[in-house]
């Protein structure tokens, strides 16, 4: 077994991250067609109470292993064709779990890291939810989505507080913009209905957590909790959609980021965060710690002189080296009515 260690840029108080490359093979029992390394992430979730839950922002960072990797031989609209007949019909159409495709393009780097769900599969074609902009000769990687059951265990092996009522259970919140969907692990004395549910009691174990999505854990048990998640390291850039308003973002970078290396500021508010000489009008990055009790706000300062351009906190302390650690999530508040953009989240192409 090949073993190596990668250290994150820094360790945040609320999230302890340990990342260990343990094997190039699969931890999920599937066949790998590529050699993305795999590893473990340990997340620390702060303890709280029912009356005063603590929140921790986390993200899987690691992905499911690559189920297929190959070259596009033809493309028509949202349908991508590959050589041979490598798949069975409907293999990736959702019946056996949700899958998505990633586009890798050396010719057009701007689209590398584009992700799109797969809606149907033949033996040599996949159809995505939307056209991806890919071209013949581009590489595709197909992965299965990470689900709530993957991250926290189908039987809540992570050990979140489970009761017969969402109001007294630990909750897992997945945001779409500013709106969250709440999930929790239900259990009662009969154990007849044990499982992950939403607030309408619909089964939720297979709810997916996209690479761009952060997860907010509302912890009501007093004890802190360590959660270990294993998976594959996603290499290469990832395009993450940023909307106007609130974005709860995960990080797909197992290497870790800083604000300076995040790629969030591009110098153009059409392709990155809006900078300003006033924090109240700039897009904001908010990092939560201490169970949500501490919210550190950062923005990119710029003015006509460009003398002080850079990331700062609200006390105008330089913040470019502030880390966004693997396994964490953060909030980006996009101000100013600017357009939505794709954040090009950088990650090494190899480890």
């Amino acid at each position: 077994m090949k073993t190596a260690c990668l250290k994150p840029h820094a360790i945040k108080a609320a999230f302890l991250f340990s990342f260990i490359i343990i094997s190039p093979s699969s931890l999920f029992g599937q066949t790998n067609f590529a050699t993305d390394p795999v590893g473990l992430i340990q997340l620390s979730v702060a303890g709280g109470s029912v009356a005063a839950p603590k929140i921790s922002l986390v993200s899987p960072t690691l992905t499911q292993p690559i189920s297929y990797q190959g070259l596009i031989t033809a493309i028509s609209g949202a349908t991508i064709t590959v050589a041979g007949t490598p798949w069975t019909a409907n293999q990736f159409n959702g019946a056996a779990g949700s899958y998505y495709v990633e586009i890798i393009s050396a010719a057009t780097p701007a689209i590398s890291g584009t992700l799109s769900d797969i809606t149907s599969t033949t033996t040599n074609t996949i159809t995505t939810a939307q056209p991806t902009g890919a071209a013949v000769g581009n590489t595709i990687k197909i992965r299965k989505d990470v689900t709530i059951s993957d991250l926290f265990g189908a039987n809540n092996s992570a050990g979140l507080l489970a009761t017969g009522d969402a109001s007294s259970s630990d909750e897992v919140l997945i945001y779409n913009g500013a709106t969250a969907a709440n999930y929790y692990y239900y259990t009662d004395a009969s154990h007849s209905y044990d499982g992950w549910y939403d607030l309408s009691f619909n089964p939720a174990g297979q709810v997916t957590i996209a690479p761009n999505e952060g997860v907010v854990i509302k912890r009501k048990a007093a004890a802190s909790l360590s959660i270990v998640f294993s998976g594959s390291v996603k290499t290469g850039n990832t395009l993450i959609p940023i909307l106007n308003g609130l974005n709860v973002l995960g990080t797909a970078s197992a290497k870790g980021l800083t604000l300076d290396t995040s790629g969030l500021y591009t110098g153009n508010s059409a392709t990155g965060v809006l900078a300003s000489n006033d924090a109240s009008t700039a897009d904001q990055i908010i990092l939560y710690s201490n169970g949500g009790a501490t919210q550190n706000i950062y923005y990119y300062y710029t003015d006509a002189s460009h003398t002080y351009d850079g990331w700062y906190d609200l006390s105008f302390n330089p913040a470019g080296s502030i880390p966004i650690s693997p396994g964490t999530a953060f909030v980006l508040k996009r101000y100013g009515g600017g357009n939505a953009f794709n954040w090009v989240l950088p990650s090494p192409t190899s480890f």
Binding site: V50, A51, I55, A110, T114, L115, S116, D117, A129, T132, G133, D165, A166, S167, S168, S169, N176, A178, T179, A180, N182, Y184, Y186, Y193, D198, L199, S200, F201, N202, A204, Q206, V207, T208, A210, N212, V216, K218, N237, P241, N244, G245, L246, D260, T261, G263, Y265, T266, T271, G272, I286, G292, Q295, V331, K333, G337, N339, A340, F341, N342, V344
Partner: protein, 248 residues
């Protein structure tokens, strides 16, 4: 510092539409939310919902109180549940129709509904429960900060066709039925309970509560029950008969 991004707007749509929308497609509620967010992308210069994000949720579960009509039969699937607050919750309803009582409660109680959306009852192991969540991403959410949460439940999916209703508040609950303070970010939400961990009371003189049920009721002077009508008719006929006998 990296300067990488160079995708044009169409690519924004491609990534968002293609991935996020369908990634959420496994849950109906989330799909609807995504559609609204998709709209915000398309109208990105017109909609800037970022300053507010208060969320109130109720968890439907087997142990939650069921929502039933006066005859203790479960309300229909998807019955209307409004969430909001009253400034003067000591009013007493005396209308003869549901519509009248709704109008009176709004006027006398100072009702303000939380968001223009509503919850619906959900089927859980054969019974109707209050479940789901509402989020207000407008500045209007600020007005609810710290106020008590009330549930206004009807026996159909719209007020105009409802025959019964009940207004419910928790006199004691952990977590309390109180709107959280809107901080415009994550964590500004509360998930509340209708199980016996919450002591719930009906207000306004409509409905009642047991350990297992939230019971709706019809307005007092609404269409009389058949038994009431029969008794009244008998008394009237008896009075007419006595008058004829005296004349004779």
């Amino acid at each position: 510092m990296h300067s990488i991004g160079c995708c044009h707007p169409q690519q924004v749509f491609n990534v968002f539409d293609g991935y996020s929308q369908n990634n959420r497609a496994k849950t109906t509620t989330a799909v609807q939310m995504n559609k609204s967010i998709l709209l915000s992308v398309i109208l990105s210069h017109a909609i800037i919902p970022f300053a507010s994000a208060t969320t109130i949720g109720f968890g439907a579960a087997p142990s939650s109180r069921s929502v039933v009509e006066g005859n203790l039969a479960d309300v229909p699937v998807g019955s209307l549940v409004l969430v909001g607050t009253f400034t003067s919750p000591t009013f007493t309803l005396s209308g003869t129709t549901i519509q009248q009582e709704v109008t009176n409660a709004i006027a006398d109680g100072g009702w303000t509904q939380f968001t223009a959306s509503n919850l619906s009852t959900a089927s859980v192991v054969g019974h109707q429960k209050v479940g789901g969540s509402l989020t207000d991403i407008s500045a209007a959410a600020d007005a609810f900060n710290g106020h008590s949460v009330y549930l206004w439940v009807f026996d159909t999916n719209q007020i105009s066709t409802a025959q019964q209703m009940g207004i419910f508040a928790a006199t004691s609950a952990t977590p309390a039925w109180t709107f959280p303070t809107n901080n415009g970010g994550v964590g500004d939400g509360a998930t509340l309970s209708t199980t016996t961990t919450a002591t719930i009371a009906a207000i306004g003189g409509r409905g009642s509560v047991t350990s297992t049920q939230l019971i709706l009721a019809a307005p007092v002077s609404a269409v009389p029950e058949p038994s009431t009508f029969t008794a009244g008719a008998l008394l009237a006929f008896a009075a007419m008969g006595m008058r004829r006998r005296r004349r004779a």
